[in-house]
Symmetry: D2
Subunit: 463 residues, 4 copies
């Protein structure tokens, strides 16, 4: 309801801008409009804000929605400059802490150093539809912050608050299917980020067949807005390629035959919640949900892209190859190499070796996996289970990863152990198949600068 209210509000805002606020004002210069808004924000933080209930908060949000680009920038800068901590109070608090260093003073410091905009955001949230409006506001600030270091602090406060409000304990898991409201389904189409959903028929193929599932997290204050969703295929075996999974004419697997749940797409929906992490919780709860509903399921696995692979090959990977192997990479230049049998035969051993090396050995400076998807699943405690040649022969798949896809396995019994080994010792959980793929290949000549062979230390066996 709040949400319906707010979209109504946004829709009618142009009109209201004229009637409510007066035509003259609507044509004011941005500076004056931002200043008016800042003034209202100050009032909202004052006693008047207390008494007004939600009315003042609503007015602030309505006015914000009518700001043009320039006024918006000025408003953001005011959030950074005028709504930081109360400096006098902070200085006094620091002095008191420096003087006696007690726990009580330390505790005061935290509260005395709080930026006033945090309370401002909390009060804005009182407006009907406030939460949705704040998520949108943060999206705007995030976009504006790129060239504006002063806005980073605003975003830090915002991000902190939203992390607290969107705590996993407040999220509700809902299954998305063909009985879901169209207003939610259209967002699934729009937000799908991994394998595009082309239209409503395509959507239906993803959520309606008996062997398909889709789950999303929702927040009670954002009724019709999924925060993150995952698409699941139930299969007999671990799949090696995504196109057969999505083929329009495929025959559904009968539930009694399904042994494997495949997480083949996971998408975040809200730009304004960037940095608030839901994916880890989502996957784990969906695993529990599916195990309860379908006790015959034995394997929970992803079918994941390797989005950074070819970029890494270009910038670093290819240097590790022999000149002959480097030459083979030339086949990739032809957009149609995948239909060319000799090209495929030549590329496969080189690409597979590079992929294994990229996923297992090419770490960032802090020992984390280079590939963002790998980093996410390995950080969740999953195991790198299989590397699939020609797992995704869509244009995008070929371009990003020469068609390579990866299965990450979620074995609930090993998740904590895997996570700790990765977090504390930079050890990647991998299957023996993947380790063998790396070892058996002698094509990659790792950089000799650091003596220890990282392959030895980092990819210990999973029993």
């Amino acid at each position: 309801m709040a949400s319906a209210y707010f979209s109504d509000l946004l829709a009618s805002i142009a009109d209201r801008g004229r009637t409510l606020l007066g035509l003259a004002e609507a044509e004011q210069d941005p500076a004056r409009r931002a200043a008016t808004l800042v003034d209202l924000c100050e009032q909202l933080l004052s006693g008047r804000g207390e008494a007004s209930g939600a009315a003042l908060a609503r007015e602030v949000l309505e006015r914000y929605a009518t700001l043009n680009e320039g006024a918006r920038q000025q408003f953001f800068m005011a959030l950074a400059r005028q709504f930081g901590p109360d400096n006098a109070k902070l200085a006094a608090s620091v002095a008191a802490y420096v003087k006696d260093g007690s726990e009580a003073r330390a505790a005061d410091l935290h509260f005395d150093a709080e930026a006033r905009r945090q309370e401002l955001f909390r009060r804005l949230n009182r407006a009907p539809g406030g939460t949705a409006a704040l998520v949108k506001l943060r999206e705007d600030i995030l976009a504006a912050a790129t060239g504006q270091p002063a806005l980073k602090a605003v975003d830090r406060d915002f991000s902190h608050l939203l992390s607290s409000w969107f705590n996993r304990g407040f999220l509700v898991l809902r299954r998305i299917d063909w009985s879901s409201p169209a207003i939610v389904l259209e967002k699934i189409i729009r937000y799908e980020a991994v394998h595009e959903i082309h239209d409503w028929d395509d959507l239906r193929r993803r959520i309606d067949p008996v062997d398909r599932r889709c789950y999303a997290f929702f927040h009670p204050a954002l009724t019709d807005e999924p925060l993150i969703f995952v698409e699941v295929a139930l299969t007999e075996e671990i799949p090696a390629a995504v196109q057969p999974l999505l083929a329009p004419e495929r025959k559904p697997v009968r539930l009694m035959d399904a042994r494997t749940a495949v997480f083949y797409s996971i998408s975040n929906c809200q730009q304004g919640l960037a940095g608030v992490s839901f994916g880890n919780f989502l996957i784990k709860q969906v695993v529990e949900e599916l195990r309860r509903e379908l006790p015959r399921l034995e394997t929970f696995v992803t079918l994941s892209p390797v989005p950074g692979f070819l970029r890494w090959v270009e910038s670093e990977g290819k240097k590790l190859l022999s000149p002959e192997d480097q030459a083979q990479l030339g086949f990739l230049a032809d957009d149609n190499w995948v239909k060319d049998e000799p090209a495929r035969a030549a590329l496969r051993p080189v690409i597979e070796s590079l992929a294994a090396y990229y996923l297992l050995e090419a770490r960032s400076s802090n020992g984390r996996a280079r590939d963002p998807v790998a980093r996410f699943h390995l950080g969740n405690g999953a195991r790198l289970e299989r590397i699939n040649w020609l797992g995704d022969f869509s244009r995008k798949g070929l371009k990003e990863s020469a068609g390579i896809m990866v299965n990450y396995l979620y074995d609930l019994g090993d998740i904590e152990k895997n996570h700790e080994a990765y977090a504390n010792q930079a050890i990647l959980a991998t299957s023996s198949v993947v380790r063998r793929m790396l070892r058996s290949s002698n094509r990659i000549r790792p950089p000799v600068s650091n003596g220890a062979a990282p392959a030895e230390k980092s990819t210990l066996a999973n029993p």
Copy 2:
């Protein structure tokens, strides 16, 4: 669901204490049990906590529920001592701030001074039923904090977090009626704090008749737990006494005849949310709700107790009376004075004068009303509309306030103005009737120490 889960959990906890944790451990000394729990809390804050999803949080909350009194105290003290801010980081942050005093350093200070228990509480909230368990935990800490100043800081962090989570924007207003679930209704019976509900028949008389309403705020994470509720009677006129409103045999007012909505009872439900204020928002939203549903309503008014009145008369008020009037107060000693016509006649002018003075003139040092109920409604921007002789002739009413009750009027158009006059200039909004009651009486001789007659300055007219 989460809530159902948690009550299940609590119900089965004695058993689980024995089976899950081992009988031996259950008989351990409190110190060891608290230490184990503290250790789990540390793990929850570590990387392992990240990977475990909600499992570790759940284990902490389950174990906490099995602690005996002694172990609980030790755990609370650990929250105070071990889960404050990271001192080294804080010291460094203070030093950096002292050195350059920049906004960026100030912002760092806030985050670096945050007590680690805040993150602990946030992670505990991930458990199923976590929010309910945390509200209960805070209730326990609050109870324990009375003699333990060290726990005040813990409670301050807790209170801050809960204020943010129970932001008005997340609350849902629900009407409570005879179609509400019994699990909610039994709590209305239990939590009613103003005019006791004796049994289910009594409850039904409060919520089922066509001229009665009850509304409560709920939080989505606490499904069956009202946070605060208000009981409303629809009447033709502003009522002067509560007993007729609650009489079992009364005849309901027809909706077409109702012109007045009377808020005759408002009760907070959750000890663990003490200090998080809902009442202001609740009254204002209920006013809006009723106006939408019943456009014929013209007046929104309370019928409120004056809980501090006779206590103040005893300690201060009676000294302001002439000896003759003081003597009349002697009638109050007889529990049955209300049935004694001469006693009533003698008491009425004295009590009314004292009540008007108490409500209008007897301020606390910061200019606020002395009576807590008056403070709440006047702080909300309501107007002191009428003082009612024999408004509540129950034992409790006679004992607390010699039967006086008060109507506070909520006129949405004046609320902000009233609030500001009160907040900034300590001016109470009052009706002319009440002002006249004060002035016409020459019985009260105010203390002469401060020259200005407070009656002149503080009770300006409402036009």
Copy 3:
């Protein structure tokens, strides 16, 4: 909503009687008021009824609700006399059928012989709250029909229509628990017909503990009105007595230990639906529901009263006893025999023998069991599993059945077979224990009039 509307309507009907219909009319003689109503019914059946939508139907029901006793009787008689079949049409239809005897004429006959009140009832159902009002109307007619044979035909039409409308396919099974609306729960208290529910605490003990269940059928048009409900206890073993099941201080059985579901009370709620049978379907669906939720349940059994037992003993049974045994029955005269050890010892063998004979051998002329509860469960295909001495030592239990209770077993695999043996051959499904109880007793001397020993033929073994 319809239902809420209608109770509102009923509540305000006295007023409306005066305002809407005119005071004069409200004081009219019953004959004129009934005539007005009959006239409106005729209009409702005419074209005007078509055009008016639900308005005319609503007016008829509102007026009916204001009739006094006399007018009501006259209205019922008009339903019998004026709203039977269209006689001219019927005569013509019979003539046509007699002439050619074709299937087409036979089909016409059915429709031409339909009483006009059937269409009247169908049109009345269009009013908001119409279904509830019609169920109430039939309740009134049923009560009035006792001494009025002319009303039997009205009731037959009504009953036929309600059977069709309350077809099992339209009923919804809902679990009743402590989260159910109070408006439903109060009806559970009111309608419980087997073991009285004394108050809300008693109710809660029946529906809230983890080892208790209550299910009811609802019809979509009667939102808050259960039609029939059954109370279930989950136990380890088949219980032999009801008082321990209902003891306030009993300890709940853990779900993991429950192997048996005990149907210990089943109550019809709507007098106006007398003759429409729900019980058979309710028990079978609850069995399916429980098996799905709790796969460990192995046994589904009732704990049932034997309401006709002592009445039968008095009128017929005692004559079958030896003089010595007859004398023992004298102990029953003392209301406190159950506390008297020698009385119990003397009575037990006699009562058990009589009970076994009563349940197995004392049939009605068509071979059905004499006891109504036995008839219901055996007709459903259940098996007479056990006869329990002192199964119900409440006053009611002692008075009706000398404390005897019975377990009927529902074994879904045998239900159809048992039913057919009972329906076609008058064979009762019984356990070997019960058969042995009957045989081992030589106390009963069956009437010798009919040669065949009925015990031999009617209680064949269940394997």
Copy 4:
């Protein structure tokens, strides 16, 4: 749920046909398969049917779904031949009635003449998803009945039963909007029968904008299946053409400006419910709904096609014209006449005159309007308000009615009066504008056979 169950069932039926029933049987000849089904139906009507609960009903419906065309036909004929009334009982009942002619015998006749298939259908309804399956079954019978007079009686029984079950009192009005489940919305797209909905974007334009409404009747046993729906546009004035209403780029009307609700499309959804009329009730309830929500609405009107117009012009109407006017009709031969200014100018007076005559004067033998849409709305008590030249210039609109559309006005105060005048005296309610349009035209020369000028008697003024 029932409905979900049933679609699941249908989806898996091919498989089940093989596994459950045996491959051999699936290949049996149709006669044997129909015979097996008939045998099961007989069992369902017997005592076994009572005991089996819903299992046997479910088996019958599952088997029916696997029948091929031939077996289906044989099954239908068995319904006609074997499941008519019990002939012996009927003959005896007729004899008894002929003998004494009493009311009691007449009442017996109705029940004794009931075809056994009625009880069969009622018992089939007990199966999960039974109601949906029966509606489908009737759809099949209806289709098969065209050339089979024997099936008419089966359909008559079916239709009678469904009319009773789908009584308006059991229907639920639900608003359809962008928050409705996709499974419902796809049916709106599919069932729209007046102005085709091309895709999901088109659908959204019909239900999502603030000035659009869509309402449907649902039956509780058919969760996701609308029975009938109406699309409404909120406008300032009564619209004269449909294309502007549906234009993708149109600007929504603000709710505060809307004075008129336009019912521009009403579609039945279930072939199996043909003959059960919902439209009358739907329109009237939607009028009430809209008046409650939007008290500013003053006018409730349709924008309706005239589907039989040009067909009538061709067969009868053109003969009533002068030769010159007949010649003008030649312009219609050109599909693009509507873009041809002279053609439009020549056609308009002729077409308008014919349309007025067609709608007002061209009656069927029983005095009803010839046009089916006119018959529906006038029968509901609406008034013929306006005839719109070029109201629908789609291909379909031009082909059916030369682009003519009609507004029928629903004035709740006049509905009963209009209906009665139409039903009893064949008087059409018309606006003065329409009457004038007819009179002012002297182009039509009515057939002279009957002396009375029908225009005089049938189109009396609406005041």
